[in-house]
């Protein structure tokens, strides 16, 4: 083997190793950005959003400053996980009594195509009237989901009855709009109320 061939071989192998390493890093970053909420304290969860409420009015996260935001991402075509979470939130609000006044519960759709302001208005009539439904353009709801590290993936379907995979956490944000904790959507209302009461007491509000 000539010196030149050896050199080329060495170069080729190093290039392969480098490519592999780069690919691994790139894939890891990609995975982290699309997976369910990473709840490590270093990762910023939340941030600015611009959405449309059920009256068709544009709102931003700024509208809820001074209140604890309780945010659930879901969609109305979902008969299992989403009603479970919304019913648990409703039960928690009721259990919290007057303390619920400090809370702004938000239901943000991950499926704005089907979840128009009218559809969300009707849907939310089955749950606590304090829950605010938020939709918007796909760009707007995608941006909100992205800010909260919410995984959203619409499944292929022939008609208009597609399913959407999505993270089913409830995000607890403090009155300054900063991330505090997540609550699983299937946590029973009583327990959720206790947890929220403790969280708010701890913050001294």
């Amino acid at each position: 083997m000539s010196r030149r061939t050896t050199l080329i071989a060495v170069l080729a192998v190093s290039l392969l190793v480098l490519c592999g390493a780069w690919l691994t890093v790139a894939l890891t970053i990609h995975r982290n950005s699309t997976q369910a909420a990473d709840t490590s304290p270093n990762t910023a969860i939340g941030g600015a959003f611009t959405l449309v409420d059920t009256r068709g009015k544009t709102v931003t996260d700024q509208a809820y400053r001074g209140k604890w935001m309780l945010i659930y991402f879901g969609y109305t075509f979902c008969p299992d996980a989403c009603p479970t979470a919304l019913n648990n939130i409703s039960a928690a609000l009721e259990k919290l009594g007057s303390e619920a006044d400090k809370i702004e519960p938000l239901f943000i759709t991950v499926d704005p195509k089907r979840d128009t302001p009218q559809v969300m208005t009707d849907y939310l009539k089955s749950f606590d009237s304090r829950i605010v439904g938020l939709t918007g353009s796909k760009t707007q709801t995608d941006a909100a989901a992205h800010a909260y590290r919410v995984y959203v993936s619409a499944q292929k379907s022939d008609g208009d009855d597609y399913l959407v995979d999505h993270s089913a956490y409830i995000y607890v944000m403090n009155p300054q709009g900063k991330f505090v904790s997540v609550i699983p959507g299937d946590m029973a209302g009583d327990k959720m109320a206790d947890q929220l009461r403790a969280t708010m007491a701890h913050a001294g509000t």
Binding site: C78, N88, D122, Y123, D161, S167, D186
Partner: protein
């Protein structure tokens, strides 16, 4: 070595025969359905979910192959998985019910998915649902409706 192989073969044949024999007896009475219920659907909702428990008291496996109701244009069997907080709903073509086994459809697990709800399911009403099993045939049910997002019909949640 050869003897052991023969033994294994013989044994598996026995098991195979034993497993197949009862399949010839009618299984109609061996499938029982308990505690069926459904969630009320919010106004305008396109989907609904019903839950129930299926018990196979027979000695042969059966299979839930389809379901229908006048309340919805389609009925599917869905399983929901929670993978690190990501909820995924997937349709199952059918659900196998092994002998002696109880299969429970419940929130967060499997549900009977009503697609294209024609009439809002209201709390307190009941509606008909027909389950079709491969061997047990059709089973007619009346499904009581609990509130939207309820976790069961008994607790009145």
């Amino acid at each position: 070595m050869t003897y052991r192989l023969l033994l294994v073969l013989a044994l598996s044949m026995c098991v195979g025969i034993a497993g197949q024999a009862p399949a010839q007896t009618p299984a109609a009475s061996t499938i029982a359905i308990e505690q069926p219920w459904a969630r009320a659907t919010p106004a305008g909702a396109k989907t609904g979910a019903a839950y129930l428990t299926i018990i196979n008291r027979g000695s042969a496996a059966d299979r839930l192959v389809s379901a229908s109701t006048p309340m919805a244009s389609k009925v599917q069997f869905h399983v929901e998985t929670n993978d690190n907080g990501i909820m995924r709903m997937r349709a199952l073509p059918s659900v196998e019910i092994h002998p002696g086994v109880t299969v429970t459809f419940k929130p967060g697990g499997m549900h009977i998915m009503l697609v294209g709800v024609k009439q809002q399911l209201k709390e307190g009403q009941t509606f008909p649902l027909v389950l079709e099993f491969e061997k047990a045939g059709e089973i007619d049910l009346q499904i009581p409706v609990a509130k939207a997002g309820a976790m069961g019909v008994m607790k009145g949640m």
